[in-house]
């Protein structure tokens, strides 16, 4: 995938800070899942987070839109600190889009309704306008013809693309991807990754938990490796893959690329 021609010209990273995490700790009961996480994400950055299972990478990005609550430290998204204040939480959630491993489309609504629901009820967009936006993004993920079907009638790859379109309809400034391709059959992975690459080319700020190392090399401007709830190493993709610093990273890379 690294030799796919990708237009990096638009993928500019600005100096503006999009996400700032400082000294963040999280426990499940007595189990310390995230340990002293510090990271800054600038607007336009594309970050891939990888690591062995149970290393806390999903928990980290779920903390960014407060699906999980952190106990210590600070998370500031777009200048809004995530505290216990419901108004802040609502604000952050409407700015941050999220794509799940298992799509989590709403099976009782059509594809179009899935995409217009949040804009209508959260953003208070008029229905017609919401539908136009939804069709725009459905065209973008290349399934406008499925708009009136139900999620159960679509393949996994199509469902995941709908899920991406659904998030985009909220016009988010940041997108979070939680293992978006792990539940897909191999031939469907590509169609989802292509959609994500296109998104990256447009300059979206993306945080992506994935094991697709080809995607990381092609798109990411930073790869973060996590283990045991800590950020062990972060670097530009080239350096990260060719010249890993830590032994854990080397071991992980040898396992994941070795076959």
């Amino acid at each position: 995938m690294s030799d796919v021609a990708i237009d990096r010209s638009k993928m500019k990273v600005s100096d503006e800070v999009a996400i700032q995490i400082a000294g963040m700790n999280k426990w499940y009961g007595t189990f310390h899942v995230l340990r002293d996480i510090n990271m800054t994400v600038n607007r336009g950055e594309r970050i891939v987070i990888c690591g062995p299972s149970g290393s806390g990478k999903s928990t980290l990005i779920r903390c960014i839109n407060r699906l999980e609550e952190h106990q210590q430290g600070q998370i500031v998204v777009d200048g809004t600190e995530l505290t216990n204040d419901l108004k802040n939480i609502d604000k952050v959630r409407s700015e941050v889009g999220m794509v799940f491993q298992h799509f989590n489309l709403f099976p009782h609504l059509t594809i179009l309704e899935n995409c217009t629901l949040a804009p209508i009820w959260v953003r208070k967009v008029p229905k017609k306008e919401a539908e136009e936006t939804a069709m725009h993004f459905l065209r973008k993920v290349k399934i406008p013809e499925q708009a009136n079907k139900y999620p159960g009638q679509l393949s996994g790859g199509q469902q995941q693309r709908v899920a991406i379109a659904r998030s985009l309809c909220m016009r988010p400034r940041i997108m979070l991807f939680d293992e978006p391709t792990s539940a897909l059959d191999p031939e469907m992975i590509k169609e989802v990754l292509d959609t994500m690459i296109e998104l990256a080319e447009e300059g979206m700020t993306m945080l992506c938990v994935t094991h697709e190392m080809g995607f990381a090399q092609a798109v990411a401007n930073r790869v973060i490796f996590m283990d045991q709830g800590q950020i062990v190493e972060q670097n530009e993709p080239k350096e990260f893959f060719n010249n890993p610093k830590s032994d854990r990273t080397k071991l992980f890379l040898s396992q994941i690329l070795g076959h």
Binding site: N65, R66, L67, D90, R93, S94, V96, G97, M98, F100, H102, F103, N104, L105, F106, P107, H108, L117, A118, W121, V122, Y150, P151, G152, Q153, R166, S167, M170
Partner: protein, 479 residues
């Protein structure tokens, strides 16, 4: 056989042997496959034969016109010979109005008939949401039903005209904006109450204004205070309206414009009119209460959860009869001294709470069956608790539990017969007992029970079939 067999020409397909096709095959497979099945079939045939030989002459010798049971029997003997039995439907012919209306004044029969017809017009937009054709057929059916029944029921011309105009408008709206018909559904309870009990027309109108106050306050405040607080303030204002403004205001307007219908007392209600009144009201109100209880039970707030669990388990742990007796005997202790309100209303409240507790358990099952991802996706999109429940969680949870919800409704409707034990005249025990106590009809038992049972059967069976239809229609999660 040769060692290397090869077919030189292909065989055409052949018909299966006689024992494997047609009627013979069907009989063999479905009735006589093996000795055990054959015995079963023979036993089944014997049972059917016995039932038919016992019941068929009785049905065939039915008598439709007679003044008493003795007269019926004489007619049967005269026509079918000594020792013959025959049904005496003459009793139903003479007393059907009591089975349907109880002691409701005969000159006002048109009111419950009109209310019953309009009930379907009000249910239509809910039952057939988004199905223009079905809705049109239903509304047209209601119109025909009312035209056919209202005039024989001595309805005044004004009422017939009003009903026809109302239905014509509804039919028109169903073509252009079916959603607007829900407004009729919303005001129907008040209209129905007024038609059934009569009295001043202002009583239901002013009471409905309380809801307008609630909705107005909510809409005015929701932008500033958020849904929860503005809903609470709305409810509070509406309560103030009902407690302090309702009665005097009604009195004042009624003094100026004394429009109304003849009042009918609750003890005149009876038969299926009573059963359907209680059943429909309780079904309507138990669903929202049941949903709230189910949400409360699933809540992570300990106190809310405990209260809901306690309420649900208490109601489900005692027989309905004891709750009905609570309505008739104990409410006078629990309410402020000298309050005395209608027995039907008291019964409806208790039956509603009873059904709500059962519904809560059913809906809880549906909520529990939803995957966690649905809640997370709703959160991630920024929907708040009530919106997530209303738009994402409840539609799915209710859909899963439709069969169980409808069987709760069926149970509730059958249980309306128990109001006989607090002195109300249900069709089964109340009316039948009155008929059987009549000297003319003493000793009759099959006919009233068959008549009442058949009506119950049609209604309950219809409900269960509708739930199956709904389940199929709403199936979206298949490929």
């Amino acid at each position: 056989m040769e060692k290397h067999f090869a077919r030189t020409e292909m065989l055409p397909p052949m018909a299966p042997p006689v024992t494997e096709r047609g009627v013979v095959k069907w009989l063999r497979e479905n009735l006589f496959s093996g000795w055990f099945n054959t015995i079963l079939t023979l036993v089944g045939l014997w049972v059917i034969y016995t039932l038919v030989t016992a019941a068929l002459p009785w049905w065939l010798n039915s008598v439709w016109t007679a003044g008493s049971l003795a007269e019926c029997r004489d007619i049967v003997v005269a026509t079918a010979g000594e020792g013959a039995t025959g049904a005496c439907w003459a009793m139903i012919r003479e007393r059907w109005h009591q089975f349907i209306f109880g002691f409701y004044p005969a000159e006002a029969y048109w009111r419950p008939v009109l209310a019953f017809g309009l009930l379907f017009a009000a249910l239509g937009p809910v039952l057939f949401a988004g199905q223009k054709r079905n809705l049109t057929v239903l509304l047209a059916g209601v119109a025909v039903f009312l035209l056919v029944t209202l005039v024989p029921a001595h309805a005044p011309l004004a009422a017939v005209v009003a009903a026809v105009v109302l239905l014509a408008v509804s039919l028109g709206l169903a073509q252009v904006a079916p959603g607007k018909l829900l407004w009729f559904t919303a005001v129907f309870p008040a209209l129905c109450f007024w038609l059934l009990w009569g009295g001043s027309v202002w009583t239901p109108i002013v009471a409905m204004l309380g809801f307008a106050v609630m909705g107005g306050a909510y809409l005015a405040l929701v932008g500033r205070l958020g849904p929860t607080s503005s809903a609470l303030i709305g409810v509070f204002l509406a309560l103030l309206w009902w407690l302090f403004l309702d009665v005097p205001l009604t009195g004042v307007i009624d003094g100026v414009l004394p429009w109304g219908l003849m009042s009918v007392n609750s003890d005149q209600f009876g038969g299926f009119l009573l059963a359907i009144t209680i059943g429909v009201t309780a079904i309507t109100f138990s669903l929202p209460i049941g949903i709230l209880l189910a949400l409360g039970r699933q809540s992570d707030m300990l106190i809310v959860k405990t209260l809901c669990v306690g309420f649900i388990e208490f109601i489900r742990g005692v027989p309905l009869i004891t709750l009905l007796f609570t309505a008739s005997l104990l409410l006078q202790y629990f309410l402020p001294p000298n309050t005395n309100f209608d027995i039907i209303l008291r019964v409806i409240i208790l039956v509603t709470l009873f059904a709500a507790a059962y519904l809560a358990e059913v809906i809880r099952g549906g909520l529990a069956a939803l995957p966690r991802g649905q809640y997370e996706a709703a959160d991630a999109l920024g929907l708040d608790y009530w919106r997530a429940q209303r738009l994402i969680i409840l539609p799915q949870a209710l859909k899963i539990s439709i069969p169980a919800i409808v069987s709760t409704f069926i149970g509730l409707f059958k249980d309306t017969t128990l109001v006989a034990f607090v002195g109300l005249m249900d069709p089964l025990k109340g009316v039948t007992q009155i008929v059987r106590a009549d000297i003319n009809w003493k000793g009759i038992y099959w006919e009233p029970y068959i008549f009442v049972g058949a009506i119950f059967f049609v209604i309950c069976f219809g409900m269960s079939r509708y739930s199956m239809y709904l389940e199929r229609k709403l199936k979206t999660d298949h490929r």
